[in-house]
Symmetry: C2
Subunit: 227 residues, 2 copies
DNA sequence: GAGTGGTCTAGACCACGTT
DNA sequence: ACGTGGTCTAGACCACTCT
């Protein structure tokens, strides 16, 4: 039995009611006997199920079926270009505004920036088959990324530039809703007062705040996943 | 070296620029030499980094640092009661309406229900310290869960009842935004026209559609995570 | 064909938490 | 003290995919 077969079989026993929520499962060694597999194989199956929130494992106490499955949803956060192209639509990018300025107070608080820090403020639009898809409001900390000042971002969006420039970062992401004001409605080709799905993202690299971005999606956009 | 140490060291090499995006890493056997570990240990470290979207692995070609890290965000989807209590607020639940009816067409399409299927339609409110926190619009397929008809849901919300009744399910979840109409604004204690964060969830058990729910959160609510 | 990752085995020691 | 899961080792065979 492969570890995948074991995972499937354990899930089957749980969904069939043979192992109800809270049930104490056999120990790894007992399952090794039953499945005729090595302990490492059984262990991998159970460990992955625990990672996925189905099982609860404790040394000495054993492995139990979770009562209220710790439901977790995993979302892919793709580049906007790839998301649009993945739907078979043509991608177009446009730079709306590019502004060098001191970080406003709300941004300094948000990104934990010191006083008098210069930031690059970019406003961009992303289109799918010519229709407004996403409005991007981006702030880049020039103290962390001075070379951003030399890029003009007319051809390539800041997101794509960033992922090629910074290899890895800590990220905080938040989802919410926002009402389209007159300006945003004009960009997004919707009516004023429409509710738009919005994500906010702060990125750090090596402990240093790098960028903050607000993305507003077209009206009716839904971010979905299965698990 | 433990697999965690190896993960850390590989991440350090990536963030330090020693292994830039797209870089071809040493093979597992070479890393075994370098770290003085068994191949299974190195394999687990690299496999987990690939699962997390940092590395890209292919047989024969080897392991590379992802160019555009397929960033994934993991969100916990807690029970509303636990989310509110976890913030140190008092939880209160109220059943607003309970209605037995035939599934409307949009719902039949959404849940892949046959014609003439009876559903239980529930409207509920969840309060945090007395303030409206979440509006729940729930539909339960009585063909899959006939015992739902015997529960009155005045004391316990349908979500808590469901997780105790069904051990495991397939779930499709979507995030979006919705404008508060007059009725919803009254429930949520906000002004009409406010943008509210909304999640929709469809649940299947054993291939059978069980329930569909729309959750509207208080104005300004943000669902956040770090990764 | 050959190199790489994917997986499995049998055995071992350790860490944690309950008793 | 003892039972359980957590992890590591050394070796093996297989599957994919590039040339």
């Amino acid at each position: 039995m492969s570890y995948k077969d074991i995972k499937e079989d354990v899930l089957r026993r749980i969904t069939s009611g043979q192992w109800p929520p809270g049930h104490l499962m056999p120990s790894e060694l007992e399952l090794c006997d039953e499945y005729g597999s090595a302990r490492a194989t059984v262990n991998r199956a159970l460990r992955e199920l625990a990672d996925e929130g189905v099982l609860d494992r404790k040394r000495k106490s054993g492995t139990r079926v979770r009562r209220a499955p710790l439901r977790q949803a995993r979302f892919d956060i793709p580049l906007t270009r790839l998301e649009i192209e993945g739907r078979g639509a043509a991608y177009r990018y446009a730079l709306v505004a590019r502004d060098l300025c001191l970080a406003p107070d709300w941004l300094r608080a948000r990104m934990a920036l010191g006083a008098g820090v210069k930031v690059l403020h970019l406003t961009c639009m992303h289109y799918a088959d010519g229709a407004p898809f996403q409005h991007e409001d981006r702030w880049i900390n020039l103290a962390a990324l001075p070379q951003a000042e030399d890029s003009d971002f007319t051809e390539t969006g800041p997101n794509e530039w960033l992922v090629e420039t910074i290899p890895f970062s800590d990220v905080e992401i938040g989802f919410g809703a926002v009402v389209a004001d007159a300006a945003l409605a004009e960009f997004m080709g919707c009516t004023t007062g429409e509710a738009l799905f919005q994500t906010e993202r702060s990125t750090w690299f090596d402990g240093q705040p790098v960028t903050f971005v607000r993305l507003c999606f077209q009206a009716g956009y839904r971010m979905t996943t299965r698990y």
